[in-house]
């Protein structure tokens, strides 16, 4: 098992690692010749959520050399904050960077090697950051795959994220950490956030949001049920457009979703009525699926 590559975009990798470290401490990193995939499970008391980040190999690595006994796929468990930390300090000022899988003191590590120019002498200084990792066997990750969701009742582009974040933080304060927040939206560009706590009832509504066609951006998957009528979006009548799809999520999960969303340039939320919330975060400009984060949150039973 060997992995070694130069990194040409430290900040993207650092951003993804930092974003995902909001969700959980440890992530599953899958390195393949074509892409890098990072998955994190959120450990909340009464709900389940998971985040998948997929980055194409070429958008981070240059000239990666990866070999393993299992189709050149390497599965690692990595501490996300450590990974983020090791990349963050170097992201601003590096002349070259590389990453490799090593073993030091009996612990397998991802070594990030950064050379940087010193301000004083313009000489090169070498910084090595060793991140402890655990190598996972292919069997132990074989059963892991992205969750399957039904065709969403509503797909909506989230409102400006700094605005959403400010409001969400207030909601979380009001409802407490284990509170429930209802998010509902329709295909007429309306998104609502509702909170019904013991002492307070709050509702926020955004109008005029965009409803992208389900699946217009690549990398989105859903499972159509047999019974569903296969009407196209344009055939929705006014009544159907107004119909709200609703999910209820843990307030802390929602806060995490919003924080993760803030990392993206374009964020689409899928509301699968009473089933789940899926948020697609595109790290790059529209149409570029080189780096995406998918956030799956299951809706709580009302």
């Amino acid at each position: 098992m060997k992995f070694r590559s130069d990194i040409h975009n430290i900040s993207l990798l650092s951003k993804v690692a930092g974003t995902l470290s909001v969700v959980g401490k440890i992530g599953w990193l899958q390195l393949t010749p074509s892409h890098l995939q990072l998955r994190v499970l959120s450990t909340s008391d009464n709900s389940q959520s998971q985040v998948w980040a997929t980055i194409s190999s070429s958008s981070i690595f240059s000239d990666p050399k990866i070999t393993s006994a299992h189709d050149d796929i390497i599965n690692l468990e990595v501490p996300l904050d450590t990974l983020h930390r090791s990349l963050k300090s170097a992201a601003n000022s590096y002349t070259s960077a590389s990453i490799k899988l090593t073993k030091k003191e009996g612990i397998p590590r991802l070594s990030v090697i950064i050379t940087t120019e010193t301000a004083a002498s313009m000489n090169h200084a070498k910084i090595v950051q060793d991140i402890p990792v655990r190598v996972l066997s292919p069997q132990s990750v074989a059963h892991l795959c992205k969750p399957v969701v039904p065709r969403p009742g509503c797909a909506v582009i989230l409102p400006p994220l700094n605005q959403l974040k400010g409001i969400t933080d207030r909601y979380v304060k009001m409802v407490g950490v284990n509170g429930r927040i209802v998010v509902e939206g329709n295909n007429n560009g309306v998104l609502r956030m509702k909170l019904d706590a013991e002492a307070v009832k709050v509702e926020s509504e955004w109008r005029g949001l965009m409803n992208p066609v389900v699946g217009e951006d690549g990398g989105m998957e859903w499972e159509d049920n047999e019974g569903d009528d296969e009407e196209g979006e344009e055939e929705l009548n006014t009544q159907e457009k107004e119909r709200f799809s609703k999910v209820m999520v843990d307030s802390r999960d929602w806060a995490k979703v919003v924080r993760v969303s803030a990392a993206g340039k374009r964020v689409i939320a899928w509301l699968c009525n009473n089933h789940s919330l899926v948020v697609y975060v595109f790290m790059d400009e529209e149409g570029d699926n080189q780096a995406t984060i998918n956030y799956y949150v299951s809706s709580m039973v009302v």
Binding site: I26, E77, V78, P79, T82, R85, S86, S89, A90, K104, E105, G106, I107, R109, T118, A119, A120, S121, N123, H124, A125, K126, I127, V128, Q129, D130, I131, P132, V133, R134
Partner: protein, 530 residues
């Protein structure tokens, strides 16, 4: 009654706040020592592996500085005034305060980064000046350090801070130890240190060849299979010697210090604009001293160093021998690793002139210093006579309630083993780790087995290979100014010596106990009450 009046400009207040922030990273309390021309702030960390001295010069740091020693304290006790070190201590006002109580007083008082002076005058908010006055009214039970912040719009904020009586602890650092030396711009080093993560414990500084220096962080914690991912980030930075303004280090010298301590120092140094950090050290197991100064603030950090990998017997043996030889060359410094100097102090007296008998008569003086001041000795301090060991005058530096009389008086090892293991990990919890370090996690490394390490630990209990704090050192490294000060103090002191002694003795009989409350309860007010 001592008089202390200090005026600081807003910039100095900000500097003071930064200094206190730095001190607070090492310990909870700060010892203030006011002298004729300077104010010393000191902190010793709980494991006694780091000592910080920040000296504020009266003339350059402060806008005005006025300290008049308490005339009643200018005495020499029963042994006359011939001891130099004692004289230097005479009259200095010492007190101990909680850093956390001081921090908010000075926080954010300076309006950051004025572009030019004229505009700064008009900046809304911020303070105009800060006045610090010592209010020592023992009779009224009102002993306070009063900090007055005169704000720009005619508002005056007054803080009355409680303090408690304190001893001064000096760090001992022998000149012979300073064989290795380097200096680097603080801002540069700060930039490098930012790469180190928060969880690693140790920082190895190694000069392997003549061109590069390696800063490597490492951990000694045992990490078993289940928690392998909690292994701290291991960072290594390789720098060219050109980065240093000065670099004279013996080949293959490698020492290790605490990352956290080192980072705290560098962070503080980095707040100065063009400051150069100078580090001086010897071999692993001997302290390292880091100094820098600017604008009347002089900072000196003494850190214990260790050999990388917690050192097996091989690694330890040599430094121990060396230190012993150094120590024998310095009278009075051999036994006490930490010496507390009370005033008039048995300790400092004995360290300078070892012929002075470990006096029973002098011991009460230790406890009832300044009978006229209703000040506290912390309640948990052991009774003073027991704290003075007969041999060499070394005193437990830990006012630790665990130190039962028997323990303290019986062995100096007891105090050493609890606190002074600079080269070791903090006690108790970490000693567990030392036992099973080098578990198979670090498998192939050539480090010794747990037993040997434990032996190394025991070896240390001999008290030789430790970071030494010695009162006598303070006297040997005094500046010219201090010498002048001593001369002045000596003259003043003789006159009042006898009277003072009488007072003290009377006090001893009267109180029966050496421990007193700071104040009567009915006069106690909240910290910020006016």
């Amino acid at each position: 009654m001592s008089t202390l009046q200090i005026t600081l400009n807003p910039l100095a207040v900000d500097r003071l706040h930064e200094a206190l922030t730095c001190l607070s990273k090492f310990g909870d309390s700060v010892t203030l020592e006011a002298r004729r021309n300077k104010l010393n702030l000191r902190t010793l960390n709980p494991t006694h592996s780091a000592h910080i001295l920040i000296c504020l010069a009266g003339d350059t740091f402060c806008d005005s500085y006025n300290f008049v020693p308490d005339p009643t304290k200018l005495s020499f006790g029963s042994n006359g005034g011939s001891q130099v070190s004692q004289r230097s201590e005479e009259g200095a006002f010492k007190c101990k305060m909680n850093v956390k109580a001081l921090l908010p007083v000075f926080r954010g008082r300076y309006v950051q980064e004025p572009i030019n002076k004229e505009r700064d005058e008009n900046v809304v908010g911020g303070i105009d000046r800060c006045e610090i006055v010592l209010q020592e009214k023992p009779n009224k039970g009102q002993c306070r350090l009063v900090v007055k912040l005169v704000c720009r719009q005619g508002i005056t904020k007054t803080f009355r801070l409680q303090y408690e009586e304190a001893d001064i602890i000096h760090a001992s650092f022998l000149k012979e130890w300073g064989v290795n030396k380097w200096a680097i711009r603080a801002t540069e080093l700060k930039k490098w240190m930012e790469h180190f993560g928060p969880k690693t414990e140790h920082l190895e500084i190694a000069a392997d060849d003549e061109e590069r220096v390696n800063f490597t962080s490492y951990t000694l914690k045992v990490i078993d299979g289940a928690h392998i991912l909690k292994t701290p980030l291991q960072t290594s930075i390789e720098l060219d010697l050109i980065e240093f303004n000065e670099f004279q280090v013996a080949r293959d010298t490698s020492i290790a210090v605490s990352v956290k301590d080192f980072k705290s120092i560098v962070t503080h140094a980095g707040t100065f604009e063009h400051v150069q950090i100078q580090a001086v050290y010897g071999e692993p197991g001997q302290p390292m001293q880091i100094t820098y100064d600017q604008n009347g603030m002089f900072c000196e950090f003494t850190l214990m160093t260790r050999k990388k990998g917690a050192a097996g017997p091989v690694g330890k043996a040599e430094p121990v021998a060396k230190i012993m030889s150094h120590r024998s060359a310095v009278p009075g410094s051999g036994t006490g690793s930490v010496a507390r100097t009370r005033e008039p102090s048995v300790v400092s007296r004995t360290s300078v002139t070892p012929t002075v008998p470990p006096t029973a008569s002098a011991q009460p003086v230790v406890a009832t210093k300044d009978a006229s001041r209703p000040e506290s000795v912390p309640v948990e301090m052991p009774p003073p006579p027991l704290r003075v060991t007969p041999r060499g005058g070394s005193v437990s530096a830990v006012p630790n309630s665990k130190d039962s009389p028997a323990l303290v008086s019986g062995t100096r090892q007891s105090s050493l083993s609890t606190g002074l293991r600079g080269s070791l990990q903090p006690r108790q919890s970490q000693s567990l780790f030392i036992m099973d370090e080098d578990d198979d996690v670090f498998g192939p490394s050539p480090a010794p087995a747990g037993d040997e390490q434990f032996e190394a630990l025991l070896d240390d209990l001999d008290g030789e290979d430790v970071l030494g704090w010695d009162a006598s050192l303070g006297s040997e490294r005094v500046s010219f100014v201090e010498l002048q000060e001593r001369a002045v103090n000596a003259d003043k002191g003789k006159a009042v010596a006898g009277k003072e002694k009488e007072q003290r003795e009377g006090r001893v009989e009267e109180s029966g106990s050496y421990v007193e409350a700071t104040q009567r309860k009915n006069v106690v007010k909240g910290l910020f009450d006016d």
